[in-house]
Amino acid sequence: MSRILKVLILSLFVATSSMAGSDGQNELSKNTNGEIKDCFETVNRGIFAFNQAIDGIVFKPLAKGYLHLPSPIRTGTSNFVGNLSTLLTIPNNVLQGDLGIAGKNTLRFIVNSTVGIIGIFDPASAIGLNSYEKEDFGQTLGSWGVGEGCYVVLPVLGPSTARDALGSLGNYMGGDAWYNVTVKNDTRYFSDFDYYASKGVGGVDFRAKNFDDINNLEENSIDFYASVKSLYLQDRRKRILNATGATQTQDDSDWEEIE
């Protein structure tokens, strides 16, 4: 169901977004003053409200309960879903030309999936194979100079852009090995449930890690939708630039006129 919905929404973006007119890397080089278009703001705000309701009914209570679990269980769960996401990061490392990091991530995955018992533990870090930034197909498209296009909010999945949503199609077209062995191909060892359960657990883990921050942001925002949009877009730009310092992402001209 979510797959069909995604394809439908994506068709809409591709048909209407302004990706072709993007100035690519220049747009990504700094936090631009020109905001990206919120082409479907009314619809986006509706979906955002729907997502908030889902969050209140499902994710928030689950995350609250999850936070009561002993710390080692939470760490193990977080390691497990993080290890699975490496399968998506590796092909994107390759597509972005980071072959060295792709090699290290592959080694990390092998070590943590075997010695680390299906990724529950992280022995790779102990032997110097530290984790790297997660990558996805949206980031890869961004690093190739594809502009963000319109800002969109996806049901359940949350904030995205036309480019990022289009990029996530790569997951379903053979780019995500975990999706391939669970949903796409009929293997004896895994089922669809394993894929969707891992995504659900990943969502709860994320919500729990950011529990207070999200609640606090919501309480202290006069337009929560706009705050989340700004946070998401700034974070994506930073990830695409693989920026390590604030001076790489901040646009100083923004501040020049302040006296």
Binding site: N31, A226, S230, K238, T247, T249, Q250
Partner: protein
């Protein structure tokens, strides 16, 4: 003889002024570390939430360029409003800022922040980099501080960039969204800010 004495006195006076003024001059890195230490003290677990909030407000008034953040957050709209409206805005913005600032920080207890380095961006601003040390529940967080260093004797924080996300920019876009969705009417923002400040 009198001229010599007067010259000596003048030199001593000038030197004293020089030392006094320089004694107040502070490196942005040290300024941020001092501010962080003061905030950590204010967030002492033994204090009540109300006391924490009032202490944080005092720190913010001394170390944050609230006026600068306020005008930055208005974006292009600051150019088209009267002086009277600006004053009205600054008054309500200061109240709004102090409420959100103290409320956001009050959730932390005894945060450990280490200031790492500083980089002068231009004559007006210096970026100070720091790290919020990881705890059992939360990972390490990189925090950069944009400090107004136009007047070195009185540096002021104007933005916090948390893991690459500028909080001032988030606020600017939030304000922009409200004004835009009300056909460019800045009074809609004022109304929202007032309602926020007045709610419990």
């Amino acid at each position: 003889m009198l001229v010599k004495k007067a010259t000596k006195l003048l030199s001593v006076t000038i030197l004293s002024f020089f030392f006094i003024f320089n004694a107040f001059s502070i490196e942005p890195k040290e300024f941020v570390q001092q501010t962080v230490d003061k905030a950590a003290k204010a967030l002492d677990q033994n204090l009540s939430k109300d006391l924490k909030i009032s202490k944080l407000k005092v720190i913010a008034l001394k170390s944050v360029d609230i006026r600068g953040i306020g005008f930055y957050s208005l974006g292009k709209y600051r150019k088209n409003i009267s002086d009277q409206k600006k004053e009205e805005y600054l008054d309500i913005f200061t109240k709004y800022f102090l409420k959100t600032f103290s409320s956001r920080l009050a959730q932390y207890s005894d945060p450990k922040i280490i200031v790492n380095s500083q980089k002068k961006l231009n004559d007006k601003y210096t970026m100070v980099s720091s790290t919020l040390i990881a705890t059992d529940d939360k990972p390490e967080v990189k925090i950069d501080w944009r400090v107004v260093t136009k007047d070195l004797d009185n540096p002021l924080i104007i933005d916090l960039i948390i893991e690459g996300v500028s909080l001032a920019k988030v606020q600017k876009e939030e304000f922009y969204s409200i004004i835009q969705s009300n056909d460019g009417d800045i009074n809609a923002l004022f109304k929202n800010l007032k309602e926020f400040v007045e709610k419990d």
